[in-house]
Symmetry: C2
Subunit: 210 residues, 2 copies
């Protein structure tokens, strides 16, 4: 068993992802065999103690005066976060943002595979986008059930997001990646991650208005 702790906190998970990215995508730099918490900390603007704690929480041990085995760190994080598995997903709402998410090739390395997209606009359905078929929303529930999809990406307008989420959950979806600018009410046990892009503007506009 890889994961000694029962439950890793969201902030820890995000930092693990940053460590993973830093170690696996070191463009230009030499791919070193070992890496110290200090090196990771400086590159990612995190406290070195934090790095050691995070790695320790998933069972990784470093060596004094040497540091951590870089490939071991990458592989363990991959396993703990579940990137070594394939996560089948559907996407609902093929607007500009939905299309961008479908076309983005970077998700594949995390095991995410969008197998179908759904939209209520008949002029879009029947086509393909980056190899992903766009279907009519009518068939969504049946598709999700038949293929046992557990993850849905929601990029619909805000006013229909809740209704779509309800149908997805009823069809067996257990996690929703929500790009619609609204809060979703879901049953206990369903995982929702909000990606409310506009929130970023609060900081930027505030800082620019000084």
């Amino acid at each position: 068993m890889i994961c000694p702790d029962d439950h890793l906190r969201p902030l820890v998970l995000e930092r693990l992802m940053l460590y993973h990215r830093f170690l696996s995508e070191r463009g230009g730099r030499k791919a070193l065999a070992t890496v110290t918490s200090g090196q990771m900390a400086e590159a990612l603007d995190v406290d070195p103690t934090q790095v050691r704690k995070d790695l320790g929480s998933i069972g990784l041990r470093g060596r004094g005066r040497v540091g951590f085995n870089a490939t071991e760190v990458v592989n363990t994080i991959r396993q703990v976060l579940g990137f070594d598995r394939t996560h089948l997903a559907v996407l609902v709402g093929v607007g500009h943002l939905g299309g961008a998410l479908i076309a983005y090739r970077g998700f594949a390395r995390y095991g995410l595979r969008i197998v179908a997209a759904f939209d209520s606009d008949a002029s879009k359905t029947g086509q393909e986008l980056a190899g992903c078929p766009i279907r009519n929303t009518r068939g969504m529930t049946a598709f999700v059930r038949r293929h046992q999809i557990h993850l849905a990406i929601l990029s619909t307008p805000a006013d229909v997001a809740q209704r779509v989420a309800d149908r997805l959950v009823a069809a067996g979806v257990r996690a929703i990646w929500n790009f619609a600018p609204t809060r979703l009410a879901v049953p206990e046990g369903i995982c929702v991650r909000d990606e409310h892009i506009s929130l970023g503007l609060s900081q930027l506009a505030y800082r620019l208005s000084d």
Copy 2:
């Protein structure tokens, strides 16, 4: 002067934005003249005390047994966050995501106006996207300087993001909305907001892998 506190923390700013959205976009619901901290708290899954503290921190006072004046709350948040001003911005990197950001009409209500987009791909430059001209990156620095642009949206590939950011800062940009999956090094005083969409996957994949 509207803002009594010198400095509002990022988490407070995000919640203020949620309150603002809730009160200004209440689709279906009656637009009530007053709203209580309890109503906002329940709708947004925040503690009622938190709501009162946040509103109090920007000078808003409620009335016992009544609550807060809804339009006063909306207007004050708009002013404090700077949504009543126009923020001119450039966008760099017109890929799928960049295009989606240009086309998204929801930013206008926060005062954001993308006046030009830049890309190094000659097949894209010269065109328009949703009324926004796409120009060659060569002219970026001059454009930013000439129009005194203070905000830049970065949606380039990760490997060129730092170079682009350096040029933008040199040209006078003071805030960067970074959608490139990489950390940017910027001088003191420059505000960077990272919108690393992939980070959301850490939570979703982890939860699906139980």
